[in-house]
C-alpha cells in the first residue's frame, strides 16, 4: 500500500517536471546570438520666423515663447496728408533650423483700421502693399496695390532667406478736413506657412 502511494507520487512529480519543461521553458537550448542597433534620436526643427521693421529696425519672432503671436510696430515714416502717403515695411526671415528643405511663404491679410481716440479718419484710410527685395523700395510709390481678399503672398523663402513686405497708407481723395489731427491704428495680420518642397512629400 505504501509502495503504491510512493509510485503514484513519483509519477506525479515526473509528470509535473515534464509539463514544466514544455510549458515554462518551452525551448530546448540551441545556439542563439543577438546584435543591437541604436538608430539614435530624431529631432523636430524649429519654426522660427523673424520680423524686422524696416523703419525702426525693431525685431521680434513671429511667435513668442508662450506660443502667442507677436505684435511689431512698423512706425511709418512721415505724416499722412492729402497726396502725401506714408510708408513702412517689414522684413520676414525664415530662421528655421530644419535639416532638410524648409521653404515658407508669408501672406499678409486684410488690414484692420481702427480710430484711435475717436474720429472718422479710419473711413478714409487706404492701405496698399507690395513685396520687395530691398527695404529701400518701400519708400518708392511704384508697385503698391490694395490688398485683395486672399491677401498678398510673398515669394517662396528658403532656409535663412527673407522677403520684404512694404506698406503704404494714403488718404482717400474725399477725406474731409475734419480728420486732420486724428490717428488710426492699422493691423496687418501676417501668416507664415511651410511649403511642401519634396515631391510626394505632402
Amino acid at each position: 500500500m505504501r509502495i503504491t502511494r510512493s509510485l503514484k507520487a513519483a509519477a506525479l512529480i515526473a509528470a509535473a517536471v515534464v509539463l514544466g519543461l514544455f510549458t515554462v521553458q518551452g525551448t530546448f537550448a540551441l545556439w542563439n546570438a543577438s546584435a543591437v542597433a541604436a538608430p539614435g534620436t530624431v529631432s523636430a526643427a524649429s519654426f522660427d520666423v523673424a520680423l524686422t521693421a524696416v523703419n525702426s529696425g525693431a525685431t521680434t519672432n513671429m511667435t513668442l515663447a508662450n506660443e502667442a503671436a507677436a505684435n511689431l510696430a512698423l512706425s511709418p515714416a512721415g505724416t499722412l496728408g492729402p497726396g502725401s502717403p506714408v510708408s513702412g515695411g517689414v522684413v520676414v526671415t525664415n530662421n528655421t533650423n530644419a535639416g532638410g528643405q524648409f521653404n515658407t511663404a508669408t501672406t499678409v491679410g486684410q488690414p484692420t483700421v481702427a480710430n484711435t481716440g475717436g474720429g472718422t479718419l479710419a473711413s478714409y484710410i487706404i492701405v496698399s502693399a507690395k513685396t520687395a527685395v530691398s527695404s529701400t523700395e518701400c519708400s518708392s510709390s511704384t508697385g503698391y496695390a490694395q490688398i485683395g481678399a486672399s491677401g498678398l503672398a510673398s515669394p517662396t523663402v528658403g532656409k535663412g532667406g527673407s522677403t520684404i513686405f512694404c506698406f503704404q497708407v494714403s488718404l482717400a481723395p474725399g477725406a474731409p478736413s475734419t480728420v486732420k489731427g486724428q490717428a488710426v491704428t492699422i493691423s496687418l495680420p501676417l501668416t507664415a506657412r511651410q511649403l511642401c518642397g519634396v515631391p510626394s512629400g505632402c
Binding site: 530546448f28 540551441l30 545556439w31 542563439n32 546570438a33 543577438s34 546584435a35 543591437v36 542597433a37 541604436a38 538608430p39 539614435g40 534620436t41 530624431v42 529631432s43 523636430a44 526643427a45 524649429s46 519654426f47 511667435t63 506660443e67 528655421t96 533650423n97 530644419a98 535639416g99 532638410g100 524648409f102 511651410q194 511642401c196 518642397g197 519634396v198 512629400g201 505632402c202
Partner: protein, 180 residues
Amino acid sequence: MKNSTLVKGTAAIAVGAALLLGGGGTLANWNAEATAAPGTIVSGDLNVVKAVNGVWKDRTGTVIPDISAYKVVPGDKLTFTQDLTVTLVGNKMAANVTTTGISATNGFTPANVSVSAPALTVGSTAVANPLVPTGSDQTVTATITFEFLSTTTGRADTTKSYNFNNVAFQLTQVTQPGLS
C-alpha cells in the same frame, strides 16, 4: 632425516615453480590489432553582428551623416537601414532572425508621426525564416522609416524628439530533422 630434507627441498622447488607459473602470466598466445581513424568532429557556427553602423537617408535618398544634428519638419520621411552580418555554418543548421521591435521615447504627438516596425530583408526580399547556410556570410538588412506627417498643423511638435533607443535583433537556431 635425509629423506626429510629431500622432501623439503622438493616441496620448495615445487612451490617456486608454481609461483613462476602463477605470477608470470606471459605464456605466449596469438594476437593481432587494427587501427580505425574516426576523424575530427568540427562544430558549426551561428552569429549575428552589426558590422557597420546604420545609415539614415531622407526622402530623396540623400545620406544624413549625423541624425542628431538633423531637424525634421512636417513632410520629412527618413529611412534607417542597418546591415547585419549573419553567419550560419552546420550541416543541420537553420536559424530564425527576428527583432524585438522599437521601444522608443516619443516626444511627438503620436498622430503626427508614423514609424514603421523594423522590416528584415535579404537583398530586396523579405526574410523567409528559417535562414540556412549558404556557404558564406549573409547580409540581413533591417529598415525603419520615420515620417513626420504633412498633416501636422499649426506649430505642433516643433523641437520635439523621438529617441529610438536600442533595437535588438536575435538569431536563434531552430531544430531540424536529425536534431533533438
